[in-house]
Amino acid sequence: MRMWIYIIRRVLLLLPVIIGVMTITFVLINALPIVDQMEALYGCTPKACDYTVGSPLYNRAYAALGFGEPVYTRWAVYMFHALTFNWGTVSAESSVGKSLLVGVATAGVPVATVFSWLLPYTLELALLSLAIILAVAIPLGNLAAVNRNRPVDQASRVLSFSGFALPSFLLGSLILIGAVIGIGSLINFGLIHTPWCPSGELVYSEFSGSWPTTACFAGDIYPSWLLHSGLQSTPTGFPTIDALIHGNYWLALDTLIRIILPALVIAFGTIAVLLRYVRNSMLEVMNLDFVRTARAKGVEESVVVNRHAGRNSLNVTLTVLGLTFAGFLAGFPVIESVFSLNGIGYILAIAVDNQIGSFDFGVIFGSVILFTYIIVTANIIVDVLYAYLDPRVRLG
């Protein structure tokens, strides 16, 4: 029962954050020219996208968004829409509206719907990255703490700083180039650099001899059995799971292979952060009395490190990890666009690329609001887990 009260209290405390973020996005939207505001919040379809002053669409948007009303009314309207997942529609004139995502034209589709298509893709990538991070950061962090200031520790420090210091777009591109040139004949890397196509069609990579060629195609060059949208239905939206449901194991494998390299790049950057936390919290725990007692009792060193200290140092790690993972769900704009993976970050990267079309503010602001929900949920989950794992945290 006390746990429920605790959860409700956490939710109430986070409400101001949600309202605050939305209010700031409202202020920023209002800083835009009125036509851009309408495009962002009202969107348009390819058939009718004329937002010149006085046009029917302009007048309808003017009334619907309450531009004649005072600011607080418009704020209330905006808040209502934002809270009810009504984040506008993809505008046909925007860069997103001019691109294909998941093989589908998105102009005129509500932003929240597009996000719901893309979130599973990002989630798969995030989970794979998380697995890599867990497998590397925790053992390595413990090792560094145990061997404090010895070569292992210094090496892990340099590794960790390298993760901070290497721009992910550079590392990602290097790995992509290396992979295409090195093992291009073994693995088809599929969609490469979609936003770079002048007219925004999908870029397919195709085998020609031993090297994959990249080109902008609107047609069906890619073998349809390897195309996610080639499946009859997508019950879950997760590409790998859908492929498995349909019994297409090659497609499932292909989807996984595609995200291994991006996941490695993401993991490399995140391990940098996590490694420091694991090491420092481990160092703190190692100095505590119960660890000394265990050693004094003659408990084996490996048991002291893994059982006594290791488990108790996980609390801090868990918090950082939870929030990092929530951050992952905001998408990886850079990595997803380097490797041309569908996802929340990829659509954001397209939305801010105004070489194809105008900025898609509906998508830009929508991803901020979506992310606010995600981070708030993640915060609550982490707090509750923390309270559950550490009885010393008072629920009061």
Partner: protein, 356 residues
Amino acid sequence: MWNEYKRTWYFFRRNTLAMVGLGIILAFVIVAVYAIATPVPWNALTLYCGTSGGTVSCANEVCTYTPPAAPPGPNCYATPNGFPAFVAPTISLSTLSLGPLPFGSLSTTDGGTPYFYNIFDGLLRGTDWSLFISLSVVAGGALIGLLLGAVSGYMGGLVDETIMRLTDIFLSIPFILWVIIVVAVVSTDLGSVISASYLSIYILIVALMAVWWPTYTRIVRGQVLVVREQKYVEAARASGAKRGRIILRHIVPNSVYPVFVQMSLDVGTIPLLIGTLIFLGFKLFPTVYFPEWGDMAANAVNPFLITGIFDDCVIGLCTIPWWQLFFPGIVIFLFAISVNLFSDGVRDALDPRMRR
């Protein structure tokens, strides 16, 4: 006070990695000073010969020519020193050569027009721009954070509550998202006004500052809550010092160490951040070929290059222009890693528990 500095320096000096970091930072500062001390006018040109057929035949040659005159050879490329500029109108990657030594040339593209520039020049001239942008964003953000944090921590009550909730709001979303929306809104509003002028750089700096302060506010507030209870603050209050004086003379000076550590960390991330924004397609600088490290690194992986590599590999002329990925990358990497090592050393030296 002075003894404390000496002691910190003593412990800092024993940390080899941190000293290496400090050395690299000093080297960068010297290069930046050199770049500022020898300003290069727009029209001063260093020229180099290009090559054809994939062989580096005249990469070391320096031609002399003044812009209005015709170039002496068909592959003679003009590069305004410092502002890497236009070159060959049509070029295939298979004919791409290293270009001018020592670091080669960087090819980028603007709306299909390829541009080549001297990487050495770009990195040299980029040092002062990169340091200037990084330092001013971090200094501005830290200053705002310092003031807000100090006020919030010292005053408490409603002021504290308001400032901290605002900080929470900013910190609840990944930094990159804030930067993206602020830069997108600003560049839509001011696009026509600022294009092709230095104003865009200053606006970029202000936009970054506007979302940079919350981390500092939180750090400073935590620190102030500790400092505020110290005896010397109580003594100042007892002797009748005004609130503003206590904050500025007693509390702020004693809460700034963690801010310095955070600042030195942040300075290293700004070229990366700028590179990321440019990679995502933002126009942050007056030209596409601007001497700033982040810009150069982002341009090094431009679509022209990568699709070019893949296309050329298909026809069996696989050229990887490693130099244009490597040199800008290594400079950003060195800069970021050196400030990281440095701040790690400072933190360890300041923290009594970490001292050996």
